[in-house]
Protein backbone atom coordinates (compact mmCIF):
# COMPACT_ATOMS: atom_id res chain seq x y z
CA UNK A 1 0.00 0.00 0.00
CA UNK A 2 1.40 3.40 -0.89
CA UNK A 3 2.14 5.84 1.88
CA UNK A 4 0.17 8.89 2.76
CA UNK A 5 1.75 12.02 1.25
CA UNK A 6 1.76 15.32 3.15
CA UNK A 7 3.55 18.61 2.49
CA UNK A 8 6.59 19.10 4.74
CA UNK A 9 5.34 22.63 5.32
CA UNK A 10 1.89 24.13 4.87
CA UNK A 11 1.12 26.85 2.35
CA UNK A 12 4.39 27.19 0.46
CA UNK A 13 3.67 25.04 -2.59
CA UNK A 14 0.84 23.24 -4.42
CA UNK A 15 0.76 19.51 -3.66
CA UNK A 16 0.36 18.60 -7.34
CA UNK A 17 3.08 16.31 -8.66
CA UNK A 18 2.10 16.95 -12.28
CA UNK A 19 2.01 20.71 -11.96
CA UNK A 20 3.88 21.85 -8.84
CA UNK A 21 4.05 25.56 -8.09
CA UNK A 22 5.46 27.67 -5.29
CA UNK A 23 2.94 29.87 -3.49
CA UNK A 24 4.31 33.38 -3.03
CA UNK A 25 3.02 36.82 -2.35
CA UNK A 26 2.79 39.98 -4.40
CA UNK A 27 2.42 43.56 -3.23
CA UNK A 28 -0.56 45.25 -4.85
CA UNK A 29 1.09 48.64 -4.19
CA UNK A 30 4.61 48.08 -5.54
CA UNK A 31 4.38 44.87 -7.58
CA UNK A 32 7.21 43.26 -5.61
CA UNK A 33 7.10 39.49 -5.03
CA UNK A 34 7.65 37.58 -1.82
CA UNK A 35 8.62 34.00 -1.12
CA UNK A 36 7.41 32.63 1.15
CA UNK A 37 4.34 34.85 1.14
CA UNK A 38 5.12 35.67 4.77
CA UNK A 39 8.48 35.46 6.61
CA UNK A 40 10.43 37.08 3.76
CA UNK A 41 11.83 40.62 3.54
CA UNK A 42 9.23 43.41 3.66
CA UNK A 43 8.89 46.33 1.28
CA UNK A 44 8.49 49.52 3.35
CA UNK A 45 6.59 51.13 0.47
CA UNK A 46 3.92 48.42 0.54
CA UNK A 47 1.01 48.92 2.88
CA UNK A 48 1.36 46.25 5.53
CA UNK A 49 0.57 42.57 5.31
CA UNK A 50 -2.97 43.07 3.95
CA UNK A 51 -1.34 44.37 0.77
CA UNK A 52 0.10 40.93 0.01
CA UNK A 53 -1.96 38.91 -2.42
CA UNK A 54 -1.27 35.23 -2.92
CA UNK A 55 0.30 34.35 -6.29
CA UNK A 56 1.75 31.23 -7.88
CA UNK A 57 5.38 31.73 -8.92
CA UNK A 58 6.97 30.80 -12.25
CA UNK A 59 8.00 27.17 -12.40
CA UNK A 60 11.15 27.61 -14.49
CA UNK A 61 14.23 29.73 -14.06
CA UNK A 62 18.01 29.72 -14.30
CA UNK A 63 20.50 28.59 -11.69
CA UNK A 64 21.90 31.63 -9.82
CA UNK A 65 24.34 29.50 -7.89
CA UNK A 66 24.72 26.04 -6.39
CA UNK A 67 26.69 24.00 -3.88
CA UNK A 68 26.66 20.66 -2.11
CA UNK A 69 25.71 19.47 1.34
CA UNK A 70 28.55 16.97 1.57
CA UNK A 71 28.02 16.42 5.31
CA UNK A 72 24.71 15.81 7.09
CA UNK A 73 22.96 19.08 7.97
CA UNK A 74 21.97 19.67 11.60
CA UNK A 75 18.50 19.08 13.03
CA UNK A 76 15.70 19.82 12.28
CA UNK A 77 16.84 18.38 8.91
CA UNK A 78 15.62 14.79 8.92
CA UNK A 79 18.36 12.45 7.80
CA UNK A 80 17.63 9.18 6.07
CA UNK A 81 20.48 6.76 6.83
CA UNK A 82 22.82 6.24 5.14
CA UNK A 83 23.23 9.95 4.45
CA UNK A 84 23.54 10.76 0.76
CA UNK A 85 25.18 14.12 -0.07
CA UNK A 86 22.91 16.37 -2.15
CA UNK A 87 23.08 19.50 -4.26
CA UNK A 88 21.46 22.77 -3.19
CA UNK A 89 20.79 25.41 -5.79
CA UNK A 90 19.35 28.91 -5.92
CA UNK A 91 17.19 29.55 -8.98
CA UNK A 92 16.47 32.99 -10.42
CA UNK A 93 12.91 33.50 -11.67
CA UNK A 94 12.84 36.03 -14.47
CA UNK A 95 9.33 37.39 -14.10
CA UNK A 96 9.40 37.71 -10.31
CA UNK A 97 13.07 38.81 -10.20
CA UNK A 98 13.66 36.68 -7.15
CA UNK A 99 16.04 33.85 -6.27
CA UNK A 100 14.62 30.76 -4.53
CA UNK A 101 16.68 27.94 -3.01
CA UNK A 102 15.92 24.26 -2.94
CA UNK A 103 17.59 20.90 -3.12
CA UNK A 104 18.21 19.51 -6.58
CA UNK A 105 16.47 16.28 -7.46
CA UNK A 106 18.57 13.22 -6.57
CA UNK A 107 20.65 11.72 -9.34
CA UNK A 108 21.73 14.99 -10.95
CA UNK A 109 25.50 15.22 -11.45
CA UNK A 110 27.15 18.44 -10.31
CA UNK A 111 29.15 18.49 -13.54
CA UNK A 112 25.88 18.84 -15.46
CA UNK A 113 24.94 22.14 -13.87
CA UNK A 114 26.40 25.61 -13.84
CA UNK A 115 25.35 29.16 -13.11
CA UNK A 116 22.83 29.93 -15.87
CA UNK A 117 21.62 26.36 -16.38
CA UNK A 118 17.82 26.14 -16.78
CA UNK A 119 15.91 24.51 -13.94
CA UNK A 120 12.27 23.65 -13.27
CA UNK A 121 10.27 23.02 -10.15
CA UNK A 122 9.52 19.47 -9.01
CA UNK A 123 8.15 17.74 -5.92
CA UNK A 124 9.96 14.96 -4.12
CA UNK A 125 10.10 13.11 -0.82
CA UNK A 126 12.06 15.07 1.80
CA UNK A 127 11.85 12.32 4.43
CA UNK A 128 9.50 9.52 5.34
CA UNK A 129 8.37 7.47 8.27
CA UNK A 130 6.37 4.25 8.44
CA UNK A 131 3.10 5.66 7.14
CA UNK A 132 3.90 9.05 5.67
CA UNK A 133 6.02 10.67 2.99
CA UNK A 134 6.83 14.32 3.73
CA UNK A 135 6.99 16.22 0.44
CA UNK A 136 8.94 19.34 -0.50
CA UNK A 137 9.81 21.30 -3.64
CA UNK A 138 13.11 20.63 -5.36
CA UNK A 139 14.71 21.87 -8.55
CA UNK A 140 15.14 19.61 -11.57
CA UNK A 141 16.90 20.01 -14.91
CA UNK A 142 14.62 21.08 -17.76
Amino acid sequence: MSKNRVPAVEGMFRMDFDNPQLIGGRSKATGTYYFPKELSGSDPLAEGSTDREEVLLSTEGTIWSFTTASYPPALPYQITEPFEPFIICAVELEKEQIVVCGQMMPGIDIDDIDVGTKAKLALDVLYEDNETEHIVWKWDLV
Binding site: T32, T67, G116
Partner: protein, 398 residues
Protein backbone atom coordinates in the same frame (compact mmCIF):
# COMPACT_ATOMS: atom_id res chain seq x y z
CA UNK B 1 27.72 63.36 9.14
CA UNK B 2 30.55 62.83 11.52
CA UNK B 3 29.98 61.32 14.95
CA UNK B 4 31.88 62.19 18.13
CA UNK B 5 34.63 59.78 19.08
CA UNK B 6 35.22 57.67 22.17
CA UNK B 7 38.55 56.28 23.40
CA UNK B 8 39.68 52.67 23.71
CA UNK B 9 41.59 52.49 27.01
CA UNK B 10 42.10 48.76 27.23
CA UNK B 11 41.60 45.55 25.28
CA UNK B 12 41.79 41.91 26.31
CA UNK B 13 41.11 38.49 24.90
CA UNK B 14 40.88 34.90 26.00
CA UNK B 15 42.48 32.60 23.45
CA UNK B 16 40.15 30.98 20.86
CA UNK B 17 39.82 27.21 20.87
CA UNK B 18 37.91 24.46 22.65
CA UNK B 19 37.87 24.72 26.43
CA UNK B 20 35.35 22.16 27.66
CA UNK B 21 36.47 22.64 31.29
CA UNK B 22 35.49 26.32 31.24
CA UNK B 23 32.16 28.14 31.01
CA UNK B 24 31.53 31.18 28.80
CA UNK B 25 31.53 33.16 32.06
CA UNK B 26 35.07 32.03 32.95
CA UNK B 27 36.20 32.92 29.44
CA UNK B 28 34.51 36.34 29.46
CA UNK B 29 35.84 37.22 32.90
CA UNK B 30 39.41 36.36 31.87
CA UNK B 31 39.06 38.61 28.84
CA UNK B 32 37.52 41.38 30.95
CA UNK B 33 40.26 41.25 33.58
CA UNK B 34 42.85 41.35 30.85
CA UNK B 35 41.19 44.46 29.31
CA UNK B 36 40.95 46.12 32.75
CA UNK B 37 44.65 45.35 33.43
CA UNK B 38 45.56 46.72 30.02
CA UNK B 39 43.73 49.97 30.80
CA UNK B 40 44.81 50.33 34.40
CA UNK B 41 41.18 51.07 35.29
CA UNK B 42 39.71 49.10 38.17
CA UNK B 43 36.44 47.16 37.90
CA UNK B 44 35.12 49.32 40.74
CA UNK B 45 35.59 52.39 38.51
CA UNK B 46 33.50 50.98 35.63
CA UNK B 47 30.17 52.82 35.35
CA UNK B 48 28.51 50.77 32.62
CA UNK B 49 28.83 47.16 31.48
CA UNK B 50 27.62 46.17 28.00
CA UNK B 51 27.31 42.40 27.48
CA UNK B 52 27.08 40.64 24.11
CA UNK B 53 24.84 37.62 24.67
CA UNK B 54 25.38 33.99 23.82
CA UNK B 55 22.25 32.00 22.99
CA UNK B 56 23.94 28.64 23.45
CA UNK B 57 24.50 28.71 27.19
CA UNK B 58 21.02 28.97 28.67
CA UNK B 59 19.58 31.84 30.67
CA UNK B 60 22.90 33.25 31.96
CA UNK B 61 23.91 33.78 28.34
CA UNK B 62 20.73 35.76 27.55
CA UNK B 63 21.44 38.18 30.39
CA UNK B 64 25.18 38.29 29.85
CA UNK B 65 25.75 41.73 31.35
CA UNK B 66 24.37 40.78 34.77
CA UNK B 67 26.09 37.39 34.52
CA UNK B 68 29.47 39.04 33.91
CA UNK B 69 28.80 41.79 36.47
CA UNK B 70 28.00 39.16 39.09
CA UNK B 71 31.09 37.12 38.21
CA UNK B 72 33.26 40.22 38.54
CA UNK B 73 31.43 41.15 41.74
CA UNK B 74 28.20 43.16 41.74
CA UNK B 75 29.23 46.78 42.28
CA UNK B 76 26.02 48.47 41.13
CA UNK B 77 26.99 49.86 37.70
CA UNK B 78 24.39 50.22 34.97
CA UNK B 79 24.25 47.31 32.54
CA UNK B 80 22.72 46.20 29.23
CA UNK B 81 22.66 42.80 27.53
CA UNK B 82 22.20 42.57 23.78
CA UNK B 83 21.99 39.97 21.06
CA UNK B 84 22.44 40.59 17.33
CA UNK B 85 23.87 37.24 16.13
CA UNK B 86 27.41 37.77 14.78
CA UNK B 87 26.91 41.53 15.17
CA UNK B 88 26.32 41.27 18.95
CA UNK B 89 29.76 42.63 19.86
CA UNK B 90 29.38 45.73 17.70
CA UNK B 91 25.88 46.29 19.06
CA UNK B 92 27.20 46.04 22.64
CA UNK B 93 29.94 48.53 21.79
CA UNK B 94 27.47 50.92 20.16
CA UNK B 95 25.31 50.88 23.30
CA UNK B 96 28.37 51.70 25.43
CA UNK B 97 29.22 54.52 23.03
CA UNK B 98 25.70 55.95 23.33
CA UNK B 99 25.97 55.93 27.14
CA UNK B 100 29.32 57.72 26.96
CA UNK B 101 28.41 60.28 24.30
CA UNK B 102 25.12 61.10 26.04
CA UNK B 103 27.06 61.81 29.22
CA UNK B 104 25.34 59.08 31.22
CA UNK B 105 28.69 57.48 31.95
CA UNK B 106 32.39 58.22 31.44
CA UNK B 107 33.87 54.74 31.25
CA UNK B 108 32.40 51.39 30.21
CA UNK B 109 33.35 47.76 29.88
CA UNK B 110 32.18 45.69 26.86
CA UNK B 111 32.36 41.88 27.08
CA UNK B 112 31.46 38.98 24.78
CA UNK B 113 32.27 35.30 25.27
CA UNK B 114 31.07 31.93 24.03
CA UNK B 115 31.42 28.26 24.77
CA UNK B 116 29.81 25.98 22.19
CA UNK B 117 29.30 22.37 21.22
CA UNK B 118 31.53 20.96 18.49
CA UNK B 119 30.13 20.90 14.95
CA UNK B 120 27.99 23.05 12.67
CA UNK B 121 25.70 25.67 14.17
CA UNK B 122 22.09 24.48 14.35
CA UNK B 123 18.90 26.45 14.91
CA UNK B 124 17.15 26.66 18.26
CA UNK B 125 15.42 23.30 18.89
CA UNK B 126 11.67 22.64 18.78
CA UNK B 127 9.01 22.71 16.07
CA UNK B 128 9.01 26.27 14.76
CA UNK B 129 7.60 26.42 11.21
CA UNK B 130 7.23 30.21 11.42
CA UNK B 131 10.98 30.75 11.77
CA UNK B 132 12.97 30.87 8.50
CA UNK B 133 16.10 29.81 10.38
CA UNK B 134 14.34 26.59 11.39
CA UNK B 135 12.67 26.13 7.98
CA UNK B 136 15.89 26.43 5.96
CA UNK B 137 17.30 23.41 7.82
CA UNK B 138 14.07 21.40 7.84
CA UNK B 139 13.02 21.96 4.23
CA UNK B 140 16.34 21.75 2.40
CA UNK B 141 19.27 21.25 4.80
CA UNK B 142 20.52 24.74 4.00
CA UNK B 143 23.29 25.07 6.60
CA UNK B 144 25.64 28.06 6.88
CA UNK B 145 28.43 26.54 4.75
CA UNK B 146 25.92 26.09 1.89
CA UNK B 147 25.58 29.88 1.59
CA UNK B 148 29.37 30.19 1.53
CA UNK B 149 29.54 27.55 -1.20
CA UNK B 150 26.91 29.35 -3.30
CA UNK B 151 28.71 32.70 -2.92
CA UNK B 152 31.97 31.04 -4.00
CA UNK B 153 30.38 29.36 -7.05
CA UNK B 154 28.84 32.70 -8.00
CA UNK B 155 32.31 34.32 -7.96
CA UNK B 156 33.65 31.54 -10.16
CA UNK B 157 30.88 32.08 -12.69
CA UNK B 158 30.87 35.89 -12.70
CA UNK B 159 34.54 36.72 -12.24
CA UNK B 160 36.43 33.58 -13.24
CA UNK B 161 37.76 32.97 -9.72
CA UNK B 162 39.13 29.47 -9.20
CA UNK B 163 39.15 27.18 -6.22
CA UNK B 164 42.87 27.79 -5.71
CA UNK B 165 42.20 31.52 -5.37
CA UNK B 166 39.97 30.76 -2.41
CA UNK B 167 42.52 28.38 -0.90
CA UNK B 168 45.13 31.16 -1.21
CA UNK B 169 43.06 33.29 1.19
CA UNK B 170 43.24 30.54 3.80
CA UNK B 171 46.99 30.22 3.24
CA UNK B 172 47.49 33.99 3.70
CA UNK B 173 45.39 34.14 6.85
CA UNK B 174 47.14 31.14 8.35
CA UNK B 175 50.48 32.89 7.78
CA UNK B 176 49.14 35.96 9.58
CA UNK B 177 47.53 34.00 12.42
CA UNK B 178 50.56 31.86 13.19
CA UNK B 179 52.01 34.91 14.98
CA UNK B 180 48.90 35.66 17.00
CA UNK B 181 48.94 34.13 20.50
CA UNK B 182 45.13 34.35 20.73
CA UNK B 183 44.48 32.45 17.48
CA UNK B 184 43.22 28.88 17.70
CA UNK B 185 45.31 27.45 14.86
CA UNK B 186 49.04 28.17 15.11
CA UNK B 187 49.80 26.49 11.82
CA UNK B 188 50.75 27.69 8.35
CA UNK B 189 48.65 25.85 5.81
CA UNK B 190 49.61 25.36 2.15
CA UNK B 191 47.35 25.16 -0.90
CA UNK B 192 48.01 21.39 -0.88
CA UNK B 193 46.85 21.14 2.76
CA UNK B 194 43.64 22.94 1.85
CA UNK B 195 43.05 20.77 -1.20
CA UNK B 196 43.68 17.60 0.80
CA UNK B 197 40.82 18.44 3.17
CA UNK B 198 37.37 17.11 2.29
CA UNK B 199 34.78 19.15 0.38
CA UNK B 200 32.09 20.48 2.73
CA UNK B 201 30.10 22.81 0.45
CA UNK B 202 31.36 22.62 -3.12
CA UNK B 203 33.78 24.21 -4.04
CA UNK B 204 34.82 24.90 -0.44
CA UNK B 205 36.78 22.47 1.68
CA UNK B 206 36.91 21.90 5.42
CA UNK B 207 39.98 24.10 5.91
CA UNK B 208 38.23 26.97 4.11
CA UNK B 209 35.19 27.10 6.37
CA UNK B 210 35.55 28.66 9.80
CA UNK B 211 34.96 26.39 12.74
CA UNK B 212 32.77 27.09 15.74
CA UNK B 213 34.96 28.11 18.63
CA UNK B 214 35.11 29.14 22.25
CA UNK B 215 36.64 32.53 22.97
CA UNK B 216 36.17 35.83 24.73
CA UNK B 217 37.06 39.46 24.17
CA UNK B 218 36.59 42.70 26.10
CA UNK B 219 37.13 46.45 25.75
CA UNK B 220 37.39 49.32 28.20
CA UNK B 221 36.07 52.46 26.47
CA UNK B 222 35.59 56.00 27.71
CA UNK B 223 34.93 59.59 26.77
CA UNK B 224 37.94 61.45 25.35
CA UNK B 225 37.80 63.80 28.31
CA UNK B 226 37.98 60.97 30.84
CA UNK B 227 40.91 59.45 28.95
CA UNK B 228 42.83 62.71 28.99
CA UNK B 229 42.07 63.30 32.67
CA UNK B 230 43.47 59.86 33.40
CA UNK B 231 46.62 60.80 31.51
CA UNK B 232 46.26 58.54 28.46
CA UNK B 233 48.39 59.60 25.47
CA UNK B 234 48.20 58.57 21.78
CA UNK B 235 44.58 57.51 22.16
CA UNK B 236 43.03 54.86 19.97
CA UNK B 237 39.62 56.27 19.11
CA UNK B 238 36.42 54.71 17.79
CA UNK B 239 35.49 57.00 14.88
CA UNK B 240 32.52 55.12 13.48
CA UNK B 241 30.21 52.23 14.30
CA UNK B 242 27.70 50.80 11.85
CA UNK B 243 24.74 48.83 13.20
CA UNK B 244 22.47 49.49 10.19
CA UNK B 245 19.62 47.29 9.03
CA UNK B 246 19.06 46.42 5.36
CA UNK B 247 17.35 48.67 2.85
CA UNK B 248 14.73 46.64 0.95
CA UNK B 249 15.15 44.86 -1.41
CA UNK B 250 18.25 42.86 -0.57
CA UNK B 251 18.70 41.16 -3.94
CA UNK B 252 21.59 38.94 -2.83
CA UNK B 253 20.31 36.04 -0.77
CA UNK B 254 21.74 35.76 2.73
CA UNK B 255 21.44 33.75 5.92
CA UNK B 256 18.94 32.63 7.11
CA UNK B 257 16.61 33.29 4.17
CA UNK B 258 15.99 30.68 1.48
CA UNK B 259 14.86 33.28 -1.07
CA UNK B 260 16.22 36.69 -1.99
CA UNK B 261 14.05 39.80 -1.97
CA UNK B 262 12.51 40.51 -5.38
CA UNK B 263 14.16 43.38 -7.23
CA UNK B 264 11.06 44.04 -9.37
CA UNK B 265 10.45 47.41 -7.74
CA UNK B 266 14.08 48.57 -7.40
CA UNK B 267 15.48 47.21 -10.65
CA UNK B 268 18.82 46.69 -8.86
CA UNK B 269 19.73 43.02 -8.84
CA UNK B 270 23.11 43.74 -7.24
CA UNK B 271 21.92 45.59 -4.15
CA UNK B 272 23.31 43.88 -1.09
CA UNK B 273 23.05 44.81 2.56
CA UNK B 274 26.77 44.13 2.98
CA UNK B 275 27.66 47.26 0.97
CA UNK B 276 25.44 49.37 3.19
CA UNK B 277 27.20 48.22 6.37
CA UNK B 278 30.55 49.67 5.30
CA UNK B 279 29.04 52.80 3.77
CA UNK B 280 27.50 53.83 7.06
CA UNK B 281 30.73 53.30 9.01
CA UNK B 282 32.63 55.43 6.47
CA UNK B 283 29.99 58.13 6.77
CA UNK B 284 30.22 58.29 10.57
CA UNK B 285 34.00 58.43 10.49
CA UNK B 286 34.06 60.86 7.58
CA UNK B 287 36.56 58.76 5.64
CA UNK B 288 36.67 56.74 2.41
CA UNK B 289 37.97 53.26 1.60
CA UNK B 290 41.31 54.57 0.34
CA UNK B 291 41.97 56.02 3.83
CA UNK B 292 42.12 52.53 5.35
CA UNK B 293 45.54 51.16 6.32
CA UNK B 294 44.15 47.70 7.09
CA UNK B 295 40.90 45.83 7.73
CA UNK B 296 39.56 42.92 9.76
CA UNK B 297 36.78 41.25 7.76
CA UNK B 298 34.51 38.30 8.55
CA UNK B 299 36.04 35.43 6.58
CA UNK B 300 33.46 32.82 7.50
CA UNK B 301 34.88 31.13 4.41
CA UNK B 302 37.98 31.74 2.31
CA UNK B 303 35.94 32.97 -0.67
CA UNK B 304 33.84 35.21 1.57
CA UNK B 305 36.93 37.30 2.37
CA UNK B 306 37.14 38.21 -1.33
CA UNK B 307 33.49 39.34 -1.26
CA UNK B 308 34.32 41.66 1.65
CA UNK B 309 37.16 43.36 -0.28
CA UNK B 310 34.47 44.48 -2.70
CA UNK B 311 31.77 45.24 -0.11
CA UNK B 312 34.08 47.61 1.80
CA UNK B 313 35.33 49.24 -1.38
CA UNK B 314 38.96 48.10 -1.46
CA UNK B 315 38.40 47.27 -5.15
CA UNK B 316 35.70 47.03 -7.79
CA UNK B 317 33.51 43.96 -8.07
CA UNK B 318 35.42 41.02 -9.47
CA UNK B 319 38.86 42.44 -8.75
CA UNK B 320 39.40 40.94 -5.29
CA UNK B 321 41.45 38.08 -6.69
CA UNK B 322 43.94 40.56 -8.18
CA UNK B 323 44.30 42.34 -4.85
CA UNK B 324 44.99 39.01 -3.16
CA UNK B 325 47.54 37.80 -5.69
CA UNK B 326 49.30 41.19 -5.87
CA UNK B 327 49.97 40.75 -2.17
CA UNK B 328 48.05 43.96 -1.43
CA UNK B 329 46.07 42.32 1.38
CA UNK B 330 49.02 40.54 2.96
CA UNK B 331 50.97 42.13 5.85
CA UNK B 332 53.49 44.35 4.08
CA UNK B 333 51.02 45.01 1.24
CA UNK B 334 49.01 48.12 0.45
CA UNK B 335 46.04 47.35 2.70
CA UNK B 336 46.52 44.19 4.76
CA UNK B 337 43.31 42.28 5.45
CA UNK B 338 42.94 40.12 8.54
CA UNK B 339 46.42 40.68 9.97
CA UNK B 340 45.07 38.86 13.06
CA UNK B 341 44.63 35.73 10.96
CA UNK B 342 40.88 36.31 10.76
CA UNK B 343 38.28 33.64 11.33
CA UNK B 344 40.43 31.30 9.26
CA UNK B 345 42.94 31.24 12.11
CA UNK B 346 40.46 31.79 14.96
CA UNK B 347 37.19 30.09 14.16
CA UNK B 348 34.08 31.91 15.29
CA UNK B 349 32.95 32.69 18.85
CA UNK B 350 29.79 34.59 17.93
CA UNK B 351 29.30 37.25 20.65
CA UNK B 352 33.05 37.76 21.08
CA UNK B 353 34.07 38.00 17.44
CA UNK B 354 33.21 41.63 16.65
CA UNK B 355 34.85 42.66 19.94
CA UNK B 356 37.95 40.61 19.07
CA UNK B 357 38.11 42.48 15.77
CA UNK B 358 38.26 45.78 17.72
CA UNK B 359 40.99 44.34 19.97
CA UNK B 360 43.05 43.69 16.85
CA UNK B 361 42.34 47.17 15.46
CA UNK B 362 43.61 48.57 18.77
CA UNK B 363 46.78 46.47 18.94
CA UNK B 364 47.59 47.36 15.33
CA UNK B 365 47.02 51.09 15.87
CA UNK B 366 49.16 51.07 19.03
CA UNK B 367 51.91 49.22 17.17
CA UNK B 368 51.68 46.30 19.61
CA UNK B 369 50.75 43.53 17.16
CA UNK B 370 54.02 41.69 17.57
CA UNK B 371 54.87 39.40 14.66
CA UNK B 372 51.92 40.61 12.58
CA UNK B 373 52.23 44.40 12.76
CA UNK B 374 50.93 46.51 9.89
CA UNK B 375 53.53 49.22 9.50
CA UNK B 376 52.42 52.74 10.34
CA UNK B 377 48.76 51.76 10.82
CA UNK B 378 46.64 54.86 11.51
CA UNK B 379 43.13 53.85 10.41
CA UNK B 380 41.51 50.41 10.48
CA UNK B 381 38.06 48.96 9.83
CA UNK B 382 36.36 45.84 11.10
CA UNK B 383 33.22 44.45 9.49
CA UNK B 384 30.78 41.59 9.72
CA UNK B 385 27.15 40.66 9.21
CA UNK B 386 24.68 39.50 11.84
CA UNK B 387 22.14 36.98 10.59
CA UNK B 388 18.61 38.29 9.81
CA UNK B 389 20.00 41.78 9.08
CA UNK B 390 22.27 43.25 11.75
CA UNK B 391 25.11 45.38 10.42
CA UNK B 392 28.43 45.41 12.27
CA UNK B 393 31.39 47.59 11.45
CA UNK B 394 33.82 49.68 13.47
CA UNK B 395 36.36 52.24 12.29
CA UNK B 396 39.19 53.02 14.69
CA UNK B 397 42.07 55.45 14.31
CA UNK B 398 44.98 56.89 16.24
Amino acid sequence: MSVAEIAVLGVGMHKWGKFPGKTFVDIGVEAANSALDDSGIGWDEIQFLSGANTVRNGYPGWVSASTFANALGFQGCQIASSYAACASGATALSIARSQILSGICDVALVIGADQVEKGMFAPVPGERPNDVDWLRFRLMGLSNPAYFGMFARRRMALYGDRQDDFAAVKVKNSQHGVNNPNARYAKEFTIDDVNASPVVADPLRLLEICSTSDGGAALVVSSLEYARKKGFKDLVKIAGISTVSPVYPNAIIDMPYFASDSWVSSGDKDHTFKNQIAQHAYKEAGIKPSDLDFAEVYDLSSAYELDWYEHIGLCEKGKARELLHNGDTRIGGKVPVNPSGGLGAFGEAIPAQAIAQVCELTWQLRGEATGRQVENAKVGMSINYGMFGHGSSVIARI
